[in-house]
């Protein structure tokens, strides 16, 4: 049995059946979600056993037919999609009812089809088809809320998404004209550095950065993700944006490997760094919880783009494998954490009728489990041990140390501190029932000395420990 084709065909079939029988859409949708997750599990176990999988559809070998292929990277993302998808499906079954459920299930299963298709596609044009499918279903889902803000944000998302796809398609056209094949592996083998390949790379990766919401092309993301219903926001932030990142990674590492230059990598890294700082800053100042989560996505996507310059500087070997593992780990952790965050915000929003951060007081007493979810997701976003993003950031920092690119370290640390600040801002609001005191310091003479001592212990001694060695060793053999 061909599990690769099943992973795409089953959710599609379930989506169509849910349209045929709208009265039972929720039941059919849940069954479809289970079947899709099972198919994904089949793919993952097969990849685990054999390392690589590929199949040619319709019985036609590669230059004529279309190949589906899976390797470790696609299996990891498939697994994340299956788990997050199952959770979202369960949540949505309780969240939507009536007309909205009737529209939600087909669209959501089509979104899942597109995601699985994108992760498994081994053909450049097939990738374009899945990109379109993904974009359109994401836009339609985003407009499900039905109010004016949601529709406006979705239409803007639609335009950006179409522009990104068209740009990608132009690149595919160039590659097809030059090499006469659409198969990813074949084009990669035939690709030679030159203006055509460079133009194709710029068009394809440029279009995809738009879909991945890399700074400064992130402008569409916060309104679109913040105005969608909670389960949809979770899918958009955790999965849809990741699909574009996955494709960039796939093209960067597999297809355009002989072509990428340090300059291009530095450009992506620089934009990623700007995204980390800008996204965290805006999240820190967001007034609504969903907007905070959306800006946090912008920042977390930024971290992922810090990897290309390090890939460029690290020769193939264990160091590079570590970096790739760290990148995937950060993608996965963010996928789980951000979907959890959005789903939890959905609960809060449904219970209290709003998601304004300033009025969250008492949430911890009313919804203890949800507040705990916020805390856990926050830990993963910040990267505290033992979360996955702790390991990811650790390896990222190691890579930056090893290749001597010190600038990124500063960005990572600043971003992490800002993430901690916005996560604790939400948590502190959720825990207190009273309005907070107006100022930071209430009694300067008694509070500041204590604050100073704590700051020295927590920050000062760690960073300025170097003089201790010469002091203790008589000033000779300081390290």
């Amino acid at each position: 049995m061909d599990s690769l084709a099943l992973a795409v065909a089953l959710p599609l079939l379930a989506a169509l059946l849910a349209t045929v029988w709208p009265a039972r859409a929720t039941l059919l949708g849940l069954l479809g979600a289970l079947a899709t997750a099972a198919a994904a599990l089949m793919v993952i176990t097969e990849v685990w056993e054999h390392g690589q999988l590929s199949t040619a559809l319709g019985g036609w070998d590669i230059p004529l037919g279309i190949a589906l292929a899976a390797d470790g990277l696609s299996a990891a993302l498939l697994a994340m999609t299956a788990l997050v998808g199952l959770a979202i499906s369960l949540y949505a079954a309780a969240y939507f009812d009536g007309r909205q459920a009737m529209h939600f299930w087909p669209l959501w299963l089509l979104l899942w089809t597109a995601l699985n298709g994108l992760f498994l596609a081994g053909d450049l044009f097939n990738l374009y088809v899945t990109l379109e499918l993904l974009g359109l279903s994401a836009v339609a889902l985003g407009a499900l809320g039905g109010d004016r803000a949601a529709v406006a944000a979705s239409l803007r998302y639609l335009l950006v998404s179409l522009l990104g796809s068209i740009s990608y398609l132009l690149g595919v056209v160039l590659l097809y004209t030059a090499h006469g094949s659409l198969d990813l592996a074949r084009v990669a083998a035939a690709l030679q550095p030159g203006p055509v390949a460079a133009a194709a790379m710029t068009l394809m990766i440029g279009g995809l950065t738009m879909k991945a919401a890399l700074f400064p092309l992130h402008f569409w993301l916060p309104p679109a993700h913040a105005s969608a219903p909670a389960p949809v926001s979770a899918a958009l932030s955790a999965l849809v944006v990741k699909a574009a990142v996955y494709l960039i990674l796939r093209l960067w590492l597999d297809l355009f490997a002989p072509l990428v230059t340090t300059g291009a990598a530095m450009l992506l890294g620089g934009l990623g760094a700007a995204a980390v700082i800008w996204g965290s800053w805006r999240a820190l100042h967001a007034e609504r919880l969903k907007l905070l989560a959306a800006y946090s996505t912008v920042a977390q996507i930024g971290y992922l783009f810090l990897f290309p310059p390090l890939f460029q500087a690290t020769p193939p070997g264990p160091g590079r494998d570590d970096l790739l593992a760290a990148l995937v780990l950060m993608i996965l952790t963010h996928g789980f954490a951000k979907s959890a965050l959005f789903l939890a915000v959905g609960v809060i929003q449904k219970r209290s009728g709003h998601d304004r951060i300033a009025e969250l007081g008492g949430t911890a007493q009313r919804l203890p489990a949800t507040t705990f979810t916020l805390g856990l997701a926050g830990i993963a976003l910040i990267g505290l041990p033992p979360s996955g993003s702790f390991t990811g950031k650790w390896l990222l920092l190691n890579g930056a140390f090893a290749s001597g690119q010190w600038g990124w370290i500063l960005v990572i640390l600043t971003g992490t501190l800002m993430t901690a600040a916005y996560v604790f801002r939400v948590l502190s609001r959720a825990f207190n029932l009273e309005p907070t005191p107006p100022g930071f310091v209430t009694d300067a003479r008694t509070e500041l000395p204590a604050l100073l001592l704590a700051a020295i212990a927590a920050i000062g001694l760690g960073l300025a420990a170097a003089p201790l060695w010469p002091l203790l060793g008589g000033g000779e053999d300081g390290t």
Binding site: L12, R99, L136
Partner: protein, 258 residues
């Protein structure tokens, strides 16, 4: 000329954006003109024509659309389905915020349109069905024929304001034909003879090439595509045209179950 000064009529941001797009277009054009690679894409084209007989479809384009790259076609049909659903969501489920655009229901269609459509409707339907069914023999196929059929119904809607498409039935047609496509693919996957998704599991001897009943599953899949495309495009037309009429006839749909 209006009295508005130039700098207020042209926004600098837009101008810069236009210039940037122009520059990008020129750069791309430069690449295309300077490194135009005519004839280099022959590799797939030649292989395709050489092996076209294996599909037993006289129309090589159909071999590509339904057999070689049938998986892409499944995706494209689904994209169209999504577009129709999206338009239905945008136009159907919502009150017109600032009045209708067209007063289509206000003015009755004139005699020329009514008579012309009465003549054209059966011919268009016949042509559409012909184009769909002969997709594997002559130019055309499910996409083209489907659009012809949808156009016939569109003309009918223009000529006869009382004529409505039943949305439930259209949706059923759409999803059943789509499910049929997927099921054909899954049948190809499960049957031992092909054991591959969208494999051509029916006998398709080359000797039969050129007959109406040939090429195995290709005509079946293309007919399903024809039904699906026809239903989807007709639904899009219908949603756009009926927006006013339905809003005034039915009580407004509740939109606040968020």
């Amino acid at each position: 000329m209006t009295g508005v000064p130039l700098r207020k009529r042209v926004s600098v941001k837009t101008l810069l954006l236009v210039l940037l797009c122009g520059w990008l277009f020129a750069a791309l054009l430069g690449v295309l003109l300077q490194f135009g690679l005519d004839g280099q894409s022959a590799s797939v084209g030649d292989a395709l024509l050489e092996r076209n007989a294996e599909t037993a479809s006289a129309n090589a384009v159909t071999s590509v659309v339904v057999s070689y790259r049938g998986f892409d076609t499944l995706g494209e049909v689904t994209v169209l389905f999504l577009a129709a659903t999206g338009i239905g969501l945008l136009f159907g489920g919502r009150r017109p915020a600032d009045g209708g655009i067209l007063g289509a229901s206000g003015t009755p269609p004139n005699e020329m349109v009514v008579t012309g459509v009465r003549l054209l409707f059966p011919i268009l339907i016949l042509l559409g069905v012909y184009v769909v069914l002969h997709g594997h023999l002559s130019p055309g196929g499910g996409f083209q024929g489907g659009v012809i059929i949808a156009t016939a119904f569109f003309l009918r809607m223009l000529a006869d304001p009382a004529f409505r498409l039943e949305h439930g039935r259209i949706g059923l047609l759409e999803s059943l034909s789509g499910s049929g496509f997927v099921l054909m693919g899954l049948l190809g996957l499960t049957l031992v003879g092909t054991a591959t998704f969208l494999g051509n599991f029916l006998p398709h001897p080359v000797a039969e090439m050129g007959r109406l009943l040939s090429a195995g599953v290709i005509p079946i899949i293309y007919s399903l595509v024809g039904v699906k495309v026809g239903a989807e495009v007709a639904a899009i037309f219908g949603d756009m045209l009926e927006r006013d009429a339905r809003q005034s006839a039915d009580p407004p749909v509740e939109a606040s179950d968020a």
